[in-house]
Subunit: 147 residues, 4 copies
């Protein structure tokens, strides 16, 4: 398997940046990116930011000592500013704003050449197998704090 | 072609209701519906509500006298309350809150047996071919006002 | 909760028919339905056909006596004939061709006013929790044979 | 805007390779990647292979001298061999088998550490604005022949 540099984006100071290309599947007949797909782009950004911090979904889902857990989006305020289009190279920016108990607050943006096309405030909660909020395990909390 | 009753849902007093079944495609590996898909369900609800009021996307997109136009979502506040699961029968509820100039404000909910799983406040704007806000054509404004 | 007639389509003699509306999410910037989405439509058809025969995904996934099992698509020959477009009312037709051991062969079509837009030959296999082929449980085999 | 190396994958001799990460959006409740999403991955591979050869969808869609045109998938034989899972790093391999008139035949694979999870034979046709097959413009034919 060949090496792929920066496939999970990069952490630059206090933000994570992930490049995303717009493909056929992302657009709709209006010619622009379908609105719900910006949420997918943001989820990719969050997943890859966590990946670079050493947090992996599949390990959380089948965790041996802490028990099964996972992140769920609880609230999202979405501001759709300008349309992205086929072939566009986008950058997904993720910043952690706050972390408390079982809850993380993030600010995310979809940019095209430094212009913000989409911005969101996101509340994510860590839950256990029964869907109940669960405090971040120590190792995870510390990994996130370095960021 | 056979007749399909209520395929576009029903208007009941001041709300539109659309039934939506949860299929494989809607879920993710956590077992629940993927969060961005609630936005798809809401978009189906808006489209079918407009359809019952006589407003069709394809006519707007290739409109002879008014010129090409379309709806875009400008802002959406999403509250993810409880997970929906495979095989669930959901109802998408759409209520118009306000209409002014080029702008519509709607309240939407995803329900399962009267329990709200997802709620959203949605701002939709009518735009012309250049993406500029455009006042609702008279016929459309009147159709929407009856609701 | 209101009643929704024919939400899972209808069985008419030796075929199952499910109505599907084309929404924004299904189209791409070319103006037509994105090619992979015909596979989603067909999966909805198979799921709802099984539903009417009394076979439910969530029961199979959390089955008490038979153990966890599920259907996987093993092979699909897809023939994309004509494009479907926004607002189109489609019908998904499903016919069982053969059932043997752990395997089902189906013929599926996506129709618009009796014209075939998409046709597929589909091989589906029942697998257990480890992904190994599993003979159809008796009750399921008999339900499918009536069709 | 930062530089992103290999975002469109790489051409290695007679094949194009694109890395694809599996995110939440790609999986379904069975825990594996939803079957139709392998077709999306393949479409990304084709798009990025063409991109590296100098062929861009948006230019084709709004082409000044040749008129509007685009690629459509006409036929696809899909072999689903093994499931991909959340967090997997996949490689999409694209090989051109034949090009004649308006038609291209490709072989595509989805690999995980050299193991083939999905294989497809794909027929793609270039069409004009009316959906009629259209011979490849000279510049495009020559770009593709170098591959």
């Amino acid at each position: 398997m060949t090496e792929w540099k920066d496939l999970a984006g990069r952490i630059e100071k206090d933000r994570h940046v992930l490049p995303v290309r717009v493909y056929y599947e992302d657009t709709d007949f209006s010619g622009a990116v379908y609105h719900a797909n910006y949420l997918k782009f943001c989820e990719r950004g969050r997943s890859d930011c966590l990946r670079l911090l050493g947090v992996h979904h599949h390990e959380m889902h089948w965790h041996e000592t802490e028990g099964r857990m996972g992140f769920v989006v609880r609230r999202m305020l979405c501001d759709f500013r300008k349309p992205a289009r086929i072939d566009d190279l986008l950058e997904i920016e993720t910043r952690f704003r706050e972390m408390r108990g079982a809850r993380m607050e993030l600010d995310q943006k979809v940019l095209r050449e430094c212009e913000t096309l989409f911005a969101a405030q996101v509340t994510v909660v860590l839950v256990d197998a029964a869907g109940r909020p669960k405090r971040f395990p120590k190792a995870m909390a510390e990994a996130l704090k370095t960021f």
